[in-house]
Amino acid sequence: MEGHSTYQPQGKIARWFESRLPIMGLMHSSAVSYPTPKNLNYWYTFGAILTMMLGVQILSGVVLAMHYTAYAPISFARVEHIMRDVSFGWLLRYIHANGASMFFIAVYIHIFRGLYYGSYKAPREVLWILGVIIYLLMMATAFMGYVLPWGQMSYWGATVITNLFSAIPVVGTVIVEWLWGGYSVGDPTLNRFFALHYLLPFMIAGVVILHIWALHHVGQNNPDGVEVKSVAKDTVPFTPYATVKDIFGMVVFLLFFSYFIFYIPNYMGHPDNYIPANPLSTPAHIVPEWYFLPFYAILRSIPDKLGGVLAMFSAIAVLAFLPWLDTSKVRSARYRPLYRQFFWIFAVVAVGLGYLGSQPAEGGFVIASRILTAYYFIHFLIILPLLGLFERPKPLPASIADAVLARNGATVVAGAAAPQTKG
């Protein structure tokens, strides 16, 4: 359902240019006339919010890089120099550091939105997998960024995460030494991480373009999960409807973001990262950034080194296979009474794993992480394939327009039945 461009270049120069590079027409058809389902809700503004956050990270990051130096003996001091000496340096760094957390909050909402409305099902498998790739690149970028201030958590986080690769049989140790460029995390590691931290966001931007291309090719899913049948009845043009809604979503998100930057800038950070890296002493309790905690809990729940590492990577990889693991033809959880309940159980389990990842790995926490880890995989590998076979979905609306009318009609009727009972 690629929107046919209705774009007419205005004026001679525009026409001359358009016949040589039809970029205005492309922009017009993808951001102005592009038809969006008319039932999209606010959960659908997170795509725009994510695009904005990528812009925020690139902009603040490039400016930080102008003041930062990747050299182990001074990197910690350079970040403090940004905080204290550079004009508005504190603001730039707090934008960038909290921006990473905001980026992950938005991506988790965006992913769970996709899980709830079944956005990964045909014909959106490639769109979904591109999303999983973006998520992986984001994790790599954020991990390497967190190493740059060269504090205790930077150093020991880098040590633990790079050592994950040492679990690979036979070649593991060599791979880790080649990641480090030495025999432990050190200056060569810091330098290569900085180079990659600069590069990866631009690769993310590239994959985002593919992601949006795939989206505009197959069309957006929507909260009712039925395909657009009639562009005239089921959709509204992207501009002004989606544009304005997205901008409103972004503004609200920026308010939330600003609260962190200006009032609790270190809330998401770890105090130990204000202690310079010391290769001779490991902090008593090392934890990764909050956005990695569920996976960290899965890693620690398995008592075997290689097993833990495999479980952790599988927990992410399983997402890419979701389009084929979920056997139900019905997309939206609105019409899947059982899936809807399992969705919420899964959401609680994911948050629970995050909590367990932040706790010391001992006693009851270990047992709880094992149970939740098992459930995490059972959800994808057993519940979802079986649910599609046994669940009786509710009747689907004939079209998006019907669904919208049914809902709004219902509120009108309900309003008429009980007038002015408020108060």
Binding site: W178, G181, G182, G186, P279, L280, T282, P303
Partner: protein, 174 residues
Amino acid sequence: MAHTETSGTNRRDFLYIATGAVGAVGVAGMIWPFVSQLQPDASVLALSTTEVDLSPIQEGQIVTFMWRGKPIFVFNRLAKDVELARAVPLNQLIDPQTDQDRVKAGHDKWLVVIGICTHLGCVPLGHQGNYDGWFCPCHGSQYDSSGRVRVGPAPLNLAVPPYTFVSDSKIVIG
């Protein structure tokens, strides 16, 4: 591109394959330097031996030195630490190895190990844990007075670096 209707192999096929093969070798040859630059460079390798003077280390003391950017624990063990390590039956160990194999004959009280937890690389804390050795704060592994792992998740004993005694009170690591 022009298409010739000749059947069978001809000169053009040969040229295609030969060009492709040379191109593939060229690309493969260029990948090597790009991968190889990742490994530890000459300046890192240059730091790969370290001399340690043992005389200031008190009985019962563990002192940490740096070798190749890694902490090295040098443990001047008391007689009871050595006895304890040697009394353990090998079948009780996760990574079975005798204490004798982990020290230099004639210098039995000196234990020299790389101070990096074999789980995910944290530095274990000395004189802690239940085995008269080390405790790793990251995920709770424990090592005994011979640096052998006694409680997981670490799979292996603390590694013994290559070192030699150049005199009774001096070793060279690396």
